[in-house]
Subunit: 562 residues, 2 copies
Amino acid sequence: MFKEAVYHRPKNNYAYAYDQETLHIRLRTKKDDVQEVILISGDPYHWIDGKWQTNRLEMNKSGSDELFDYWFCELRPSQRRLRYCFELNDGKEKITYTEKGFFETPPIHDTKFHFCFPFLNSIDVFDAPDWVRDTVWYQIFPERFANGDKENDPHGVLPWASQDPTQDSFFGGDFQGVMDHLDYLENLGINGIYFTPIFKAHSNHKYDTIDYMEIDPQFGDKETFRTLVKECHKRGIRVMLDAVFNHSGFYFEPFQDVIKKEHDSKYKDWFHLREFPLKTEGIPNYDTFGFVASMPKLNTENPEVKAYLLKVATYWVKEFDIDGWRLDVANEVDHSFWREFRNAVKTVKPDTYILGEIWHDSIPWLQGDQFDAVMNYPFTDASIDYFAQNKINTKQFSNVITNVLHMYPETVNQVSFNLLDSHDTPRILTLADNNKDRVRLLYLFQLSFIGTPCIYYGDEIGMTGGEDPGCRKCMDWDSSNQDQQLFSFVQQLISFRKSIPAFGNRGKLQFINDDNSPNSLVYEKTTDEEKVIIIINNDHKSNKVRVPKLANKSCKELFSQS
Amino acid sequence: MFKEAVYHRPKNNYAYAYDQETLHIRLRTKKDDVQEVILISGDPYHWIDGKWQTNRLEMNKSGSDELFDYWFCELRPSQRRLRYCFELNDGKEKITYTEKGFFETPPIHDTKFHFCFPFLNSIDVFDAPDWVRDTVWYQIFPERFANGDKENDPHGVLPWASQDPTQDSFFGGDFQGVMDHLDYLENLGINGIYFTPIFKAHSNHKYDTIDYMEIDPQFGDKETFRTLVKECHKRGIRVMLDAVFNHSGFYFEPFQDVIKKEHDSKYKDWFHLREFPLKTEGIPNYDTFGFVASMPKLNTENPEVKAYLLKVATYWVKEFDIDGWRLDVANEVDHSFWREFRNAVKTVKPDTYILGEIWHDSIPWLQGDQFDAVMNYPFTDASIDYFAQNKINTKQFSNVITNVLHMYPETVNQVSFNLLDSHDTPRILTLADNNKDRVRLLYLFQLSFIGTPCIYYGDEIGMTGGEDPGCRKCMDWDSSNQDQQLFSFVQQLISFRKSIPAFGNRGKLQFINDDNSPNSLVYEKTTDEEKVIIIINNDHKSNKVRVPKLANKSCKELFSQS
């Protein structure tokens, strides 16, 4: 047995509270090395006649990636306490894996050897809002979705869609425009809108905040926004805003004050400054987002800054009833701030969704005390590589996705923000070299996957566009330009997600690929009640796929396309 | 290369902020598999002409245990941000290990592949009080250390040391007794006292708290305690108290109120009750410590309970200037409570030491937001097994200790509470089968090890005693019974710890055992300025040991005994 490959450590993705009574336990072993894993566990204080009372529970293989097999079981300890070890059998030998290493037989004469989940305290249970599991998001870049009110158009506005956007162009998109098209969104079936920033800022993307307490006038005013949220809520659509708290814009008043008054500015501790005068050319002499002088990093450890940003965070929830915050560059802000942020926001509205923008492994932010979810870029990358660009094969794709599913607890996966593209990447149709069949497969996978999917505005009607600014074109409202078939396809998948629990977030996913058909992807989604099997041909030619699980089973064809 | 054995994950013991500017990076590989590891790293935003700017840094092998080698390096990223991967060379092939798996060459064309330490925010840096690193603790069980005031003796008190203790006996130890012997403690050289509980309770051990706001009258009153702390501080001795916050005693007023008034008690949500009437025989129908009916688990999620316990926690710090809290059964209380506890206590006195009683892997409590340290039982177990009982050999001992040192960040190790025994275990001399040479070796290892060592009262003069109550005998103040040689030995080691930085907490430890001398233990403790080499013969007969590191070096013999 390859002992060095065996891994477990409690209180992360390997052992966590699924709910207030249930523990999930996972184990990693070398791929194809171990045949059977038994969890041996008991209450640490449950001894009878000098013998620790333990139970044996067989674990199931929940997936495999390139190097490893993953094993899973769940249990409900009556006293909410657990000590445990793993008995591994490779067909030749049985060994026991404990916190103190490997033993020939389970060292159950003393609990001190064993992994420990000491107490399942309710307050520590990761607890994301329920509604997120059934939400399909639609991302709107407000400047480019629809111009519903000419009165608030910014200076130098261009006629809608009259040309391709540049870094600096304005087309006048606004809140009224969104309201004018809520029927469209409702018809598509989405039930959440994620807006990129809407606060006062000079740029068209508004990531350079000037005032976090004001709506940018080009989008409308606070009353328009209040109406927009209400109209969304009437239709069962949630609203998430973008919080850029890592850094402010250059024209944020406190930063301007620092530039002017230097040492005398009462805001000089609001940023991370190294010396005066501030140097905005070349590498700045103050901390910034990247090396961008116009985006000074906020000192979120300063109590005044914290108080200000927490006021912002709660104001928009309390006053406008928004449902979520997407946190820009969330990984560079301190954990301590995010813990206070969570407390503040959840106190005002307990089911607010808190979504961090993090591109890498995010387990330190997903322990229940900070974020509900992160943007699932590993999902994005793998999906684009496989479906859009054919850069990886079925085996590689299944490996990466299985790995992604085992990186975090199931509770986290169910609310993971699964995007295919955004205002920061080329659009999927462009990434797929204008092949709409590939876009269909992307949507099929995204919408049958675990997590909360997000559609980037216009992708659903076949819009194209490369890197920023290309991907930020005006939404095309000319129905003759819109791909109605693609729209219907997405609409149908969204409806499946709602009507068939196993298709959506309630189904556990397992790959059951046919190795003899290397360009086909086969996976099942399973609940206690039903099983959905999805067979995808990711090839330009037809393929035969064997699905032994379907042999001699009656099943209903949900849907098929060639 | 054995890829499956390679492990790294940021923001725990594998990558952490050592101080406000320095990152420590560790990697695990299969034992004796890899010859060289290079850390390739850069600021994620530092690109020139489309090329990510990276540096190469060779990592050092910091130790090996039974299955693995551990690699280490430290660096100070100028912008406090880091993305990184590892290049591994086993002499036959070079491969690169990234967050996304293994690659033949470093995928530095895109930072998305790489491990990430996104920003070194000061407030998140693990920051235990500096003084702990230079503290040698002395554990006092107050009922048994010295009876200095006959006036406060409890009913039925027995003459001092007149007989062996039982579960229920009282001998009248008190605060005045401790004060009477501060000269003794100062002479020994300790500079911290850890008191087991002192609050009002019926038992002799006082773990069954009746009133957390009152001193038990058998020890004195608040004024005596205030004087005791002041007298300790005058001599540079810190004071740590025991906080039993997981559960109260049976006679804690709120619990008595619940027993009497049941549904009508205003305290019914202070505990975890399942039904009325409360069942105190057999398995209780409410949550308890273990299955002990007289120790009802407190509901630390209830804001009233939280407010009460945080008042207790801050009261003794603020009013009596204590220096530390040792948290009983700390692992079964919710993380959320401990975060608030830390904030509350550190607000009152920032350099209070917070020590959790946890027997298993404690990384979830040691991220900087909860505890400063835990009681280092893995160190205890290994030391007893090796030095006291000869149950494991030198190789096994070195493996376990190396593993212990790599379980947590160095910052955590430096304040780890290293005990050899306590009121809950037999005394070391008894564990060592009355062999004082073995006790000497235990002390030598403990006092030259990384962490903050603790001496259990009376061990230093050769007291014996088995499991509780045997280990709780009265301190023997008859100097003719005290082993003065052992006392002097401990005294000398404590003085080394203070006068020779490399001997104590400032030296990095590495084993340099001589495989041809299997019962000898050899290790070096190194600072930038000096190196101490310690050679221990853990055998009943003499042994020859080769220490190649000493060849042709001039060195000073600190100390030698046979």
